[in-house]
């Protein structure tokens, strides 16, 4: 075989294998029950209450515990390290296949508005490119990725270290006919339950405190998420779980940012509930980091949240959490 034939054959095989792999990954990822983006589009969850946001709601709010209190079905749609664009797309996926819930609790804090906290996790949506909504968000939030996805398999190669494992797991789930995820109600008990020294490192890094930066893209997708929910008739509640009080000393403009968040809530006519007066906010023994409650703290908070939701659902009134 001469060189030209060899090169042609090699290029053809590479393109063919990449196209085949791309199909295989599409299939496998869509069958991975542990991926929320895939799961909510395959399973009928039909929850009455949704909890949404980054790791704080994911690790703190157990639907199983809440459901026994509120007697309605809830689902935790939150994902670790996610920003509002990430939340927006997951809500979009959920609503495509499930009936709209009555209530949605969306976690919003000054940290959520700052691009230095959490991020848009493009790889979670790789298997769903081609959907115009997904494509437009990807183009805006990760233009570098969006530019190259037309090339065979590049949508998976780009974040291969995040995707290969999920694809293999998806294949396993398909072969084992597994449809229920490891965490069926979306809640993930935190792996780390001890204090993580994050505050100490934070103080070392910013001895004079840290001023939050308001990110326009975050604001845009917060608004889009609220608008999408309301389009489906969902009542949206923005909330902030307890924040370790001593950490607030190092956040000079926290109040100012909270005021701006309240401004957005007012503009959309939704409530912004802060559980900042809870006693647990005063002691480190309930936290594993400044924003994340540990198991015990989360249990107390969830209990308060349950009372709040019950009041909201059955008496249409606000029951103040334990102070």
């Amino acid at each position: 075989m001469n060189t030209v034939k060899k090169i042609t054959l090699s290029v053809a095989i590479i393109l063919l294998v990449l196209a085949g792999l791309s199909r295989l990954y599409d299939f496998a990822l869509r069958h991975n029950a542990n991926l929320k983006a895939a799961y909510v589009q395959r399973a009928k969850i039909d929850a009455e209450i949704l909890f949404h946001g980054p790791c704080e709601p994911l690790w703190m709010i157990s639907p199983a515990m809440l459901d026994s209190q509120t007697h309605v079905r809830s689902y935790n749609l939150a994902l670790s390290h996610s920003d509002f664009a990430d939340n927006y797309l997951h809500l979009y996926f959920y609503l495509k296949h499930n009936k709209a819930p009555k209530l949605m609790f969306l976690y919003v804090t000054p940290e959520s508005m700052d691009a230095n906290y959490n991020t848009f996790n493009t790889y979670r949506f790789a298997a769903f490119t081609g959907d115009p909504v997904v494509d437009s968000v990807l183009k805006e939030c990760d233009p570098g990725y969006a530019k190259w996805t037309a090339f065979p398999f590049m949508k998976y190669a780009w974040y291969s270290s995040k995707i290969n494992f999920d694809a293999l797991q998806g294949l396993k789930h398909y072969l084992q006919h597994r449809t229920v995820p490891y965490y069926a109600d979306g809640y993930e008990p935190p792996l780390q339950v001890v204090w993580d020294n994050h505050l100490e490192e934070f103080i070392q890094l910013y001895p004079h405190g840290y001023n939050f930066e308001w990110n326009k893209l975050r604001e845009k997708y917060l608004c889009k998420t609220i608008a999408l929910a309301r389009q489906y008739g969902i009542e949206v509640v923005l909330y902030e779980s307890p924040v370790l009080k001593e950490a607030l000393l190092y956040q000079p403009n926290r109040r100012e940012i909270v005021k701006r968040i309240k401004g957005i809530a007012d503009a959309y006519g939704v409530e912004y509930v802060q559980f900042d007066k809870m006693k647990i906010a005063e002691s480190r023994k309930y936290f594993m980091s400044t924003l994340n409650l540990n198991m015990e703290g989360a249990r107390i908070f969830t209990d308060s949240l349950g009372k709040y939701i019950s009041g909201r659902l059955y008496y249409n009134e606000f029951i103040r959490p334990h102070l």
Binding site: T3, S10, L21, A157, S160, S161, N164, L191
Partner: protein, 471 residues
Amino acid sequence: MIFNSLIFLCFVVVTVIINYLLPERFRSFFLLFCSLAFIGYYNIESLLAVLVFSLFTFYISRNIRGNRLLYIAGILLNAYAVIMFNYFFATRQGFDFSYAAISFNVNSFIIALGLSFYALQNISYLTEVYFGRWQPELSFKNFVLYNSFFPKVVSGPVMLPREFMPQIDRNVITHERLAAGFNRFLLGLFKKMVLADRLAPAVHSIFDFGDANCGLTTLAGAYLFTIQLYFDFSGYTDMALGIAKMLGYDLKENFNLPLRASSVSEFWRRWHISLISWFTAYVYYPLVYRLRSYKKAAAVAGILATFLISGIWHGIGITFFLWACCHIAYLCFELLTKRMRSGLSEKPSYLFYKLAGIFIVFNAVSFSNIFFRSGSLSSALLMIKSLFSDFFPAGWLHDFIAPLAVGGHQVDEFNFYISIFMAAAFLLFERRINRIANSGGFSFYYTTACVLLIFLLGIFSNGERFIYMQF
């Protein structure tokens, strides 16, 4: 535009095709244009720096014969540039000049792409011309190309004038060269994207969040960093050599299976060869020759000077100084125990002696790399301290994996094991892979396998910068 970015890949493809199609006499002009565009794309200060330093050195070289003062001035100018570059890099400070509407930050000027590499080339060029071993270059265009040739400007290899200059006007590109260059480039891309960048998160978590590491974790971190550094830098070199070959140039080899060296002196004959041969030619030999009457002491002085300067070249800071001290100690030990060890090598089997040597050298180099990688003396000392206390606690594997799993559950563990497997497999078959990569023909299996593995396992998204870009 770093070497492992998709935009650079497009740049290389276009450059190689146009350069191939151009008549030979226009190629140097075209490559000069591409090189300056490449540097200018990085930042305009780097472009200015390469032009200014080339102009000064070129001018000095034309008038240097018999003018010792001018020669020393030229050497000092380039040496000063390296020192200032490293000083500003170490301190991350700068001077702000403001005059009327013009404000200028020296820091951004000094941190110029590849300055410490082409400054060394300039020093060797001036030395060769001063001592009459090389005729001063008549064409400024050729001289700027010597300094700015884009495959090597970022991190070398450091080329002597006699190794590079003659190639400018004898630029021949054959299909065989194109194939060999492509094979080499692909190998470099594979080493960087599949091996080095995959090891980076583990190294990062051990070195940068390793306040409470136990001894075995520190040791694993040092091993992993040595391997990462090797794949990162040799990957860059393979890419540079491959691109240069496709453009009709032969650059100097920088690595020759260094992790198989059985003595530290052998290691330095196989690791960063172009830099060490530069130091040997312009620091070690002149000094040893001057002090030759002191015999072994002269060699010790030569090692001392070479590695202290090498340490400063890598960076101004106590950690680089201690890294250099480690290698000075290793090499002096080898020099002084040479006779004893040569007797030893005959007793047990050669294979055992060789394997033991490889193990000891790898450990010694990895130990010194703790200083090389640590951001500060305190963190380096903390890591070294951990080597001698609580070396192997119960549940080590779980604790070792835990810091790698930053929000990924088993994903990071999976990635870590894949990386270790790939690195080990590569090191095992390295000689055979290198043989294919250096062959002049198109290898169907090699190319297909490399490209598919890069797509499957390569890090595209946040490709790490090359470690040696900082020097």
